[in-house]
Symmetry: D2
Subunit: 311 residues, 4 copies
């Protein structure tokens, strides 16, 4: 499989098309773009066959990307518009899986004490949970209210427990019908950092975005549908440099009218070499906007509100 | 049962002795005091029979109280001494229950976004977890290292899930042999706020300290021994006023050479009346030192270090 | 002077009227109440003569109190309504002092690491400052924009410098025409904690609300008008018990048909005795709602938004 | 002047020597290296003449660099050792300027709500201030205690006021004899992020490290000596890519036995082109370790402790 170094289906589709010089659509993949407003664009990528699965390296299912421009300086109205779009897309995926009053567990992955990894736990604090009220004081809620619960299970490095182990136990005990997982993703684009949400109905491999792949959370491992809300919060520095080198080599080739050696270089994947050169000892270097704390806060509001409306 | 309005066995013992004018020891209760240093005193209260159980309203077992003076201005050495004492007492309770290399899960109860309730979650972030290293990279640890994991399950109000439900699921999946629970307790003494640790080998009723009683966490409900580390972080304002009124009525009686009416007042429990008068609508009023943020931080270090040494 | 133990002119007026059995208005004091909505009430107290000054122990000037009900569970619309009222009142006080485009410095007093004292510094982070943009990139702002700057000078205990010394230096250098100071106040009412804003055009004695009186910030000391925005965030525990004792003694008198001794007690001020009994060593005990972190956050939004609209 | 894109004199010296193929020492520059321990190395660079000044683009004076290895996993002892070295170097610079009991003001630059920019304000909270105690309760301190005060003036973007304006006012009012400024620096080396401290007795241009150059803080502008403690906390992403390209072009030249075009490329400074390509709209992209929150916390302890010992 091609090493895409992005979790966004929409980016993989572009890379695959470019690499294979495909003009129309990839076989087994459907795509549709909606301009919601000047600031918000939604792209729905659907992988429909095994062929599409193989091409994009992701399971059959729906991958919806919401791109929000200028989230850095977004105001109250902008947050509301983005939350509305998220709510609309999320609702359609949920309604395709379970009934209107069926139990949902929202899970915020990540380490809240590491800024670029804190979006999940922060969003969780804003989710309107109802399950305990329905259990203890149902008279305070309208009939037909959906039971919602929410948890931040922490990360393996601080708990010593795989997220899958924690969630399995909770699912066995409280028996939700669907899980929504919020997590960080890897993207190749700096502009997408904390500005894009991918909603997928195929589950998630947590930590993939920040270089610590963990056990998959999906219907296969948890027994119930898992909708993943992924937000790119960092770009690996080696990916950045690799992409820059590609551009650079292309420029060299144009101007120097190419030579064999550069062609070879271009075909090679220089990622591992760069990574080695860049990453001192045990650091995990990332590229991030200096304003990441603010960006995370704004995106947290969009995500929490979008989920609350959808439920 | 007498309404003690304190979770500390050591305070209950004093109240019971005073109320019943007992000079020596309560039947079914043993007590021992150790002066560890000028700043640290340890009191070991042991409830040995059903009679003691009934007197103090707590199950048969060990209740160790460590009082630390001047934790507000404690320095690095003071934190170390307190952690050493905590470690010594905790170790003896653990060793009485399980083997040296058996699996332990540390649980930090409370809501980290509510200062007086944040001690558990904050201490958890400092626990040295080893379980995942033993699973994935055992070569990095000495042989015989005890598997330790740690989790902050959140509170019912923000998760919608009973702590017991979450822990049951985790215990079923990762099968620890013992649980250590860190939680806030109710005390009657302002001086004990964030300055006292009670270690009990009988489990805990979480939230009791902050007025939201939840399902018991104990061997009975979880199937494995539960050691509770409780720290008083607030005093209810109605308890404070009630205690002040008692002192005041006593003073009145002395000076006015008593009268029937005051005697009656004194025997009554004015707590509920005061509570009603004091507590507007849905607030939960507490008495706390203004420096509670700092106190919690210092105590967090004592607790985390004490646990790390003991394990 | 009567020891009111509250900084709110509106509470002092009530206490003074009750203590002196005044049915109509105190001489030299005017008052007006506006019901802004079901949740918001504004009271404008004006001290007009030296007599009024002596009665309420506060200088001649305007004292506007905005009471916001249920700020604990306030939503976006509620924050907006409260901010609108604050903006209206603040604007009228500012317009009475300086021109529409004259320079304003907003000052957030308090220690952001001590929750009940953190409102000032937190609100400052949300103020829309324009002074530097007007200096460096005026083309980005509409003509006639007012220069606004904002600072959190910290507290004496952590800086070693009196707030007055810091502000004097800044005022000398940047020469604003008016200062708005945000600070914590003392109130006698638990219900007013983080739910009431007092706006006064007479300056402030910082720290009065939390028991650390500092040098006055006012036109007298700084040379320019100082508008103070004070928010009660704590009630001293000795005040609380003192008030409860008063109620209690009254009840005793009613039922026991009084006696000389109780009369004497009632006339005495028991505050100092209670304070001594209550406050261990060097602690500063306060009564606060457990939800103080949330309350402060909501009030911060009201204050920052109210100021931003007014400017 | 050569564009070094680093504020560290020690890095500039290396770059200059390499670029100019200087084997021994640069004229007007002296350097000395001390191996303090396995983890800590101190380098003292002294610029002694105008020639040295011109070479390194920094004023005549002392530039001491302390490199601390593995600060990510540093323990209590490691923090102590690093603080001891910092204290030793800092003390020698201070003693060269003022007397043992003369007044010092410590200033923490930066925005505490932006993680890589928060070191200054965070360190300030840990400084032992004595000035107010000497003013109000001198009996609590030993005779001869130095008056120390500390302030975090905030950043231009959130205060609207130049740091220089704020400090000038404070210096005029409280008249310290020396200022210590803590700030973020730019470095070219990822390994130095939050692991290196540069102490300079020549003042500072704040914000240089994070791309927002502000007015100089120095004896020239403030009238008293300014010692700057600078810590690299980020590397600009364009610098990183530029450095990688240099290495890459070198490799190309070696293998392809060079050609004119590559030579030209190598001599060009590609920084601006890369910057344009990399930096979308108004973002300030940085390269940082994912663990930056932890690194900042550890370094904060080293800095605060080092300063406290030195004073």
């Amino acid at each position: 499989m091609y090493n895409f170094r992005t979790d966004l289906a929409v980016e993989r589709r572009e890379i695959f098309k470019k690499a294979n010089k495909i003009e129309n659509e990839i076989d087994g993949v459907e795509a549709e773009e909606i301009i919601d407003s000047e600031e918000i664009t939604t792209t729905r990528v659907k992988i429909t066959t095994e062929e599409g699965e193989k091409a994009l390296g992701k399971p059959i299912g729906n991958y919806i990307t919401i791109d929000i421009k200028k989230i850095k300086s977004i105001d109250e109205d902008g947050i509301q518009s983005a939350a509305d779009v998220l709510s609309r897309e999320l609702k359609s995926l949920i309604d395709a899986q379970i009934g209107k009053a069926e139990d949902i567990l929202v899970v915020g992955l990540g380490n809240e004490y590491v800024t670029p990894d804190s979006l999940g736990p922060k969003a969780i604090t804003e989710i309107d949970v109802t399950r305990h009220i329905l259990n203890y004081m149902p008279e305070y809620l309208e009939e037909g209210t959906r039971p919602v619960s929410a948890i931040s299970p922490g990360v393996l490095g601080t708990t010593g427990i795989e997220t899958l182990e924690i969630l399995k136990g909770i699912v066995d005990n409280i028996k939700p019908k669907l899980i929504i997982v919020i997590d960080a993703l890897a993207s190749r684009s700096i502009e997408r950092i904390s500005s894009t949400i991918q909603i997928a109905d195929t589950g998630i491999v947590p930590g993939a975005g920040v270089g610590n792949t963990r056990k998959e959370l999906s219907k296969k491992t948890l027994g119930i549908p898992v909708i993943a809300l992924g937000i790119p919060t960092v770009v690996e520095s080696a990916v950045l440099v690799n992409d820059c080198l590609d551009i650079f080599i292309e420029k060299l080739q144009q101007e120097a009218q190419s030579n064999e050696y550069l062609n070879k270089l271009k075909d090679e994947d220089n990622y591992e070499t760069i990574k080695e050169a860049l990453v001192p000892n045990d650091y995990n270097m990332i590229v991030t906007p200096k304003e990441i704390d603010d960006l995370i806060d704004n995106m947290k509001n969009v995500v929490a509100r979008g989920i609350n409306f959808a439920l």
